[in-house]
Symmetry: C2
Subunit: 251 residues, 2 copies
């Protein structure tokens, strides 16, 4: 079909397509996707960032580009050019009012995702990082079915049991759809009090590493719980741009 051809034409010009997903929400998936894409753009790679979390498109907020709008010409959409040449597409850049909920059912969402892949002028890219909503529903399913040669999925989790439980479902989802699992990242892993520097084990440590071993997937490292990340996310400044720390210990 005609859309499938347009999609494979555009995706053919992108070397690596990486889906960032999580079984559970609030684990830091968008934070990881934004910082990963930003880090790649800063290091000189031609990078795109696609936000397919249509109901909660936070990529624009975390990059500080809320309120910007996208240009269209002859039906093709031009992605927003953020710093360091990072090309961004997010539902937030298509909505007039940020209070407006996207109350769409599955089939409509799939149609829009098809347009994000087939009608956006991504051009030649080294990486396309795709931020998906939590869970294994229509959005990640459409991405994995519409992009025939997806490079892999990065799974983000926090160390608590409920999040680990859901991250295993995300690994199995990738397996069912023949998408290679690039690896699993443990976010919000361990926290030291900024006042007395004692360890506060809000979230235990090590759950993701154990899951990686038991499911035979790469463990990509830990990111500790860091209040500066919350501030950076709310301020729209990618965390890695404002600090020298190495975002993920093992990336």
């Amino acid at each position: 079909d005609e859309q499938a051809e347009r999609i494979s034409g555009r995706m053919g010009r992108i070397k690596n397509k990486i889906l960032v997903m999580s079984g559970k929400g609030g684990v830091g998936k968008t934070t990881v996707a934004v910082n990963l894409a930003y880090a790649m753009a800063v290091s000189g790679k031609k990078t795109g960032l696609l936000d397919v979390d249509l109901h909660g498109p936070n990529v624009a907020k975390m990059l500080g580009i809320e309120g910007k709008t996208l240009a269209q010409n002859n039906g093709a959409i031009t992605p927003f050019a953020a710093e360091h040449g990072l090309k961004v597409i997010s539902m937030a850049l298509l909505l007039e009012n940020s209070d407006e909920p996207v109350i769409w059912r599955g089939p409509l969402k799939t149609g829009v995702i098809g347009q994000f892949l087939g009608d956006v002028e991504w051009g030649d890219l080294d990486y396309l990082i795709i931020d998906s909503p939590p869970g294994t529903g229509d959005e990640p399913l459409s991405i994995c079915q519409l992009i025939k040669d997806i490079t892999g999925a990065i799974i983000v989790t926090t160390p608590q049991d409920v999040a680990i439980l859901d991250s295993r479902k995300a690994v199995m989802f990738a397996r069912r759809l023949d998408v290679p699992v690039t690896g699993i990242i443990e976010n919000m892993s361990g926290f030291t009090c900024p006042h007395c520097h004692k360890n506060i084990n809000i979230f235990k440590k090590g759950g993701a590493e154990k899951t990686a071993q038991s499911m035979n997937i790469p463990f990509l490292g830990c990111i500790s719980f860091n209040p500066q990340m919350v501030e950076a996310g709310d301020a729209g400044i990618p965390f890695i741009s404002s600090s020298k720390n190495n975002f993920v210990s093992k990336e």
Copy 2:
């Protein structure tokens, strides 16, 4: 249509139907739904708890009833009877293997939710608490369209800007569907170090109260960040069962 009649027959025997929703994941929505339902059951109200987060059904884990299965007779499903007579339905009680992802598109999800409302023997209840996935997609949309006289929606958020931004979408979602907004709860609001008792402003405070005022909806109170909640959730023991604290200061 035949299913709609069955649904209104069963829902007619339930006094209050309350949807617990959030714009963003990981804000504590399931924790609030489980503890609210548990508190009502403990206080002697006939209470049901329905988990329509089909992709990440954590209600069973947080109640410590993972692995239990549901009985069926003549096509009707019997809810699981947890402590204090709390009746529970969750996708987790229908899946053999907790690693198995539910890879369903919208229409299939809507069909299953229709069965959870029309084919489950809820009986006479004072309250049915419904835990929904994050966002404004198929699941909360189906609940609001299938239950004609829904009592209201409780919106859970954390204080950071990205979560507040998404909680406003959830309020607008309820308005668009003529569902009364019972109110908004701010969870993980403020945190004191267990060692030196100094305040760690991981998450700012007050965002939800401001949103409540600006959108003219009731503010239901704050729940502070409490590491015991993470432990209780992972252990499957509702937080309020093991402590005397008043779960929400203003409920």
